[in-house]
């Protein structure tokens, strides 16, 4: 009898509808959330953070993990410095992309590549939370346990070829971006997690070099 009860309880548990981890926001909730994010992102003059990046492709046994530091200074200076497992720095500054690949330096104009120009704007926007542009993206907002989530589907044909969706996870208290997911397809995405964020500290222009 006891075993039957336990079995019944177990079966009942697994048959119950699973509570969704994310719940779509109502229009009012979404408007309020976006407003909070916009207020905070307008106040961000600089950002320094550690990041860990996970490249997921379904056919891999393990996600490819890289990590480093990122610096942002308004309006659009961005330095992305990979430290593990290789040294690679990319700087977006004054319409140029500066690269240092294990000591080998190179530079190119952002405008020389359409996709680079789009990605530049996307990455800067993702980091600062300043990406809520309804002309560029179809945006839906969700509330999760630990984060509020904005899912952005590109409208631009060039960007759409490379990215199916961008997900921004916002800290519920700070309304800053804690995680970015760049989804290329159902099987492939890149997840970037930010930790030890420091907002609005003094960041010298000298940081943004390769």
């Amino acid at each position: 009898m006891k075993i039957k009860t336990i079995l019944f309880a177990f079966l009942a548990m697994i048959c119950l509808p699973v509570v969704a981890q994310e719940q779509k926001m109502t229009e009012a909730e979404a408007a309020s959330f976006r407003q909070s994010v916009n207020v905070v992102s307008k106040k961000i003059t600089s950002l320094a953070t550690d990041f860990t990046q996970f490249k997921h492709m379904d056919f891999l046994t393990k996600d490819i993990e890289t990590s480093g530091k990122m610096f942002f200074k308004e309006p659009d200076k961005l330095l992305w410095q990979y430290k593990k497992p290789y040294n690679y720095t990319i700087v977006f500054k004054n319409g140029k992309i500066l690269i240092n690949d294990e000591g080998k330096k190179s530079a190119m104009d952002v405008g020389s590549s359409k996709i680079f120009a789009k990605l530049n704007k996307l990455i800067v926007g993702s980091v600062s939370g300043n990406l809520f542009d309804d002309k560029e993206f179809a945006i839906t907002c969700y509330k999760g346990k630990d984060f509020n989530i904005a899912k952005l589907i590109p409208k631009d044909a060039t960007l759409k070829k490379y990215l199916k969706q961008i997900e921004l996870h916002f800290d519920k208290q700070e309304h800053t971006v804690s995680q970015v997911r760049l989804v290329e397809s159902a099987e492939d995405y890149t997840k970037i997690v930010f930790k030890n964020k420091v907002l609005n500290a003094k960041v010298d222009d000298a940081v943004f070099v390769n």
Partner: protein
């Protein structure tokens, strides 16, 4: 110096150069009995392994870098090259006689470039080489394998039998060199591919996934 002598010298020098370029990698070496009719490379042979490399490609002065991934499948390999940010540059299913492009960025979607990359990756990843002849060299055993109308010379270490080099050659001369550095026989930590007839070089360094 008389004009006729100058012309004779120029032709002689030119002939010597052509002869040098046209010399077979096994010229002057003693041919021996073929020990095994099939050489099996184990560098990309484990379906459980993710073969992940930091890649640098130099083509006619242009640099391209990113992450190269290969995964063994039943009938070939899945090969993907991404940027350091994780965006896919090229994604192909590669078989011995065919390939399928799953994704490719516009900048790489050029027939000649794509077919060159496919041919190089195919030879780098090839498991079985059918041996037609064998030669002894001072620090290597050289196996000659036919490859359609071309020939591959496989250089094996005399100490541990590991594959050190592949020289891909036409009738007259070597056109591509593949060099492998491997501490153990199942994963080449460093791979270097150099074309001698076009300005294309590729360097792959194992990425130790964290």
């Amino acid at each position: 110096m008389p004009k006729s002598t100058m012309r004779f010298l120029s032709i002689s020098v030119l002939f010597a150069l052509v002869a040098a370029c046209g010399s077979s990698p096994v010229k002057g070496l003693a041919e021996t009995t073929v020990e095994t009719p099939v050489f099996r490379s184990t560098y990309f042979d484990d379906p459980a392994a993710d073969y992940v490399y930091k890649a640098n490609v130099t083509v006619y002065g242009h640099e391209l870098s990113g992450i190269f991934v290969a995964k063994k499948k039943d009938d070939g390999h899945r090969v993907v090259l991404t940027t350091e940010f994780g965006n896919k540059l090229i994604d192909i299913d590669l078989k011995e006689t065919d390939y399928t492009v799953n994704a490719i960025v516009d900048e790489l979607d050029r027939k000649i470039l794509l077919e060159t990359l496919v041919a190089d990756f195919r030879l780098m990843l090839r498991k079985e080489h059918h041996i037609a002849a064998q030669f002894d060299a001072p620090q290597a055993k050289i196996l000659k394998a036919t490859d359609g109308k071309k020939v591959n010379y496989l250089y094996l270490s005399t100490i541990d039998g590991k594959l050190l080099q592949i020289k891909h050659a036409g009738k007259r001369k070597e056109t591509i060199t593949f060099r492998f550095h491997a501490e153990n026989p199942t994963f080449a930590e460093d791979i270097f591919i150099e074309h001698h007839d076009i300005k294309l070089k590729m360097v792959f360094k194992q990425l130790k996934n964290q």
